[in-house]
């Protein structure tokens, strides 16, 4: 078993409310995994269970073979960016990072702290009090503490929320750079960001896992493509008759969706055939895209 993280039948109740209901999922080592869902879906609760902040009422959670709720089990194994944890306001950034690196048992805490701060582009804030930081800067300091010491698993809750587009892009690049080296779990509302960053994801709704799998499975990238039609009459019957085609439909907005069986036909082959057929019938095309947007999939499921 090479799972970095595993949840089995996890249940979390707050009084009479069930926040997470029998959720099971696995994250492989080196994967970048997304937690997706609308507000109240149970993303943050699931995330908090993974970090050991909350205790499950039922089920089992393992991170790199240990239970997060076990005291001190996550030390040096997991770095966490909590969504709503406030940095102690009176402390200086450098002091905080140094203190946390020491608690983490890192060999050279000051060097690790300075490197992490440099990584998020805030080396100059070493002597700045946390209360003097802007929201975006505090978020990046929090990101720095999560990355200190290169933990094998990094859990990030809403890493780019509230950040301006330039800083958000920098954070996304940072996450992209970690891919393959560390296992990353990202919980976010930004579906475009998750689609771009993640190899796999779990979609939650009202505390229940509605679908999980690789990003290409979730977006049907291997079994569906879309054609934006500008004008002309689409020959749906002819399209459906093509080898390997399992369905074709045209939306009023002019989006033609074609699904196909990958075991019968390669994506490039059927895309070329469809485009050729449409061109032959004098249908004008604006664009072709594989799969569907993650956002559409999530809206369909939740």
């Amino acid at each position: 078993m090479d799972h970095a993280l595993e949840l089995r039948e996890v249940v979390k109740r707050f009084g009479p409310n069930i926040a997470v209901n029998r959720v099971s999922l696995t994250v492989e080592r080196g994967q970048c995994y997304g937690l997706i869902g609308p507000n109240g879906a149970g993303k943050t609760t699931t995330f908090s269970l993974m970090c050991g902040y909350l205790f499950p009422n039922q089920g089992e959670i393992r991170i790199l073979g240990v239970t997060p709720q076990q005291q001190g089990a996550l030390k040096q194994k997991v770095g966490v960016l909590p969504q709503d944890a406030i940095l102690p306001p009176w402390s200086k950034v450098g002091f905080l990072l140094h203190y946390w690196a020491t608690l983490q048992g890192l060999e050279n805490p000051e060097r690790c702290a300075r490197e992490a701060l440099d990584l998020v582009g805030l080396a100059e804030t070493w002597n700045t009090a946390a209360q003097a930081l802007s929201h975006g800067m505090a978020k990046r300091v929090s990101m720095a503490q999560a990355l200190m010491g290169d933990p094998p698993v990094v859990l990030l809750d809403e890493p780019t929320s509230g950040l301006d587009p330039r800083i958000a892009a920098q954070i996304r690049q940072l996450i992209r750079d970690l891919k393959g080296k560390q296992t990353i779990v990202v919980s976010s509302h930004n579906l475009q960001e998750l689609e771009e960053l993640c190899d796999a994801a779990a979609i939650l709704d009202r505390g229940t896992l509605v679908q999980s799998g690789s990003m290409s499975d979730l977006t049907s990238i291997g079994a569906e493509f879309r054609v934006q039609i500008a004008s002309g009459s689409v020959p749906l019957a002819e399209l459906k008759a093509l080898r390997g085609c399992t369905g074709a439909s045209l939306e009023p907005s002019g989006i033609l969706t074609v699904s196909f069986d990958r075991s019968l036909v390669a994506p490039e082959e059927i895309i070329t055939c469809v485009v050729a057929l449409l061109a032959a019938r004098e249908v004008l095309i604006l664009s072709v895209s594989r799969g569907r947007k993650l956002e559409e999939r999530v809206l369909q499921l939740t």
Binding site: S48, C51, G52, Y53, L54, F55, Q71, G72, L74, K75, V78, G79, V80, P82, D84, A85, I86, L87, P88, W90, S91, Y99, W100, L103, Q104, Q145
Partner: protein, 273 residues
């Protein structure tokens, strides 16, 4: 983590309160002594007056220490002002301890900043680390204030030798340590139970009031047993010269400390943060 500005404010608060008590008790004591001196000078039989003064002092100490002759004997070298200020400070020390530590964990819980810590270490280490830090702060502040009181007593009492002062200071400080650690444990328990720091403080003060009530109700002969459930029951014998009495008091406070800290440990290891 200790916040130095807050430590200074708390030292100031404790120091000012002690100073106020010291000034009031000191001036009363001084006026009383002056009156005695006057009467001694005027009377043909000064020995009788001095004996009356000693009786009055003994009566006051007896009131403060339940008339235990051994304690009264042990305290005879110590200026009256020190003993009274010490007894008064014991009354407000638990509230002061609550003010020092009410947000030691509830503050971290309410702001979720404890989440930066729990992935880096054991929850029990966070609890005991904070307890030790608060205890060190408290003991330093108490030592500073006690030292001030003893120096005042030394300056105003020629008979009070440096050796007696050193011995008494150590004894009073040790008694304050034992006393305050039990209350600090109670504060830790309240702080770990509630996410809201204000609620933690209110419950802590309510618990102090409940203990005081137990002590008062327990004075009735039929309800005597109730007093043993209040920490203040064990306060008087913390200055007792006999080892057995001192040990029982110490065990009482140690018992309360272990009980409250043990409960805090059970809460923090199983609560959501």
């Amino acid at each position: 983590m200790l916040r130095s500005a807050r430590a200074v404010v708390l030292l100031g608060l404790y120091g000012l309160f002690s100073l106020l008590v010291l000034l009031i008790v000191g001036s009363i004591s001084k006026a009383f002594q002056a009156s005695v001196n006057q009467q001694v000078a005027a009377q043909a039989n000064p020995a009788a007056i001095e004996q009356a003064y000693a009786q009055a002092r003994l009566g006051l100490l007896g009131f403060l220490f339940s008339g235990d002759v051994a304690i009264l004997e042990a305290l005879k070298e110590i200026p009256l002002v020190v003993v009274i200020v010490f007894k008064v400070t014991l009354v407000f020390l638990p509230a002061y301890v609550a003010l020092i530590g009410f947000d030691q964990l509830s503050g971290e819980l309410s702001q979720h900043s404890i989440r930066y810590l729990v992935v880096r270490g054991k929850r029990s280490s966070i609890l005991f680390g904070k307890f030790v830090a608060q205890a060190l702060l408290l003991l330093s502040l108490v030592l500073l204030v006690d030292l001030g009181i003893f120096l005042y007593a030394k300056a105003t009492n020629e008979d009070f030798t440096w050796l007696a002062m050193g011995k008494s200071l150590l004894r009073f400080w040790l008694a304050a340590i034992l006393f305050s650690l039990a209350y600090l444990s109670l504060t830790s328990l309240c702080s770990v139970l509630f996410r809201n720091p204000a609620l933690s403080l209110v419950v802590n003060l309510a618990a102090l009031f409940a203990f005081w009530l137990l002590d008062v109700i327990g004075r009735a002969e039929s309800l005597r047993l109730l007093r043993f459930f209040s920490p203040s029951q064990y306060a008087a014998n913390l200055l007792h010269p006999r080892l057995s009495e001192f040990a029982i008091s110490t065990a009482g406070y140690a018992g309360f400390a272990v009980l409250f800290l043990g409960a805090s440990y059970l809460v923090i290891r199983s609560r959501d943060v």
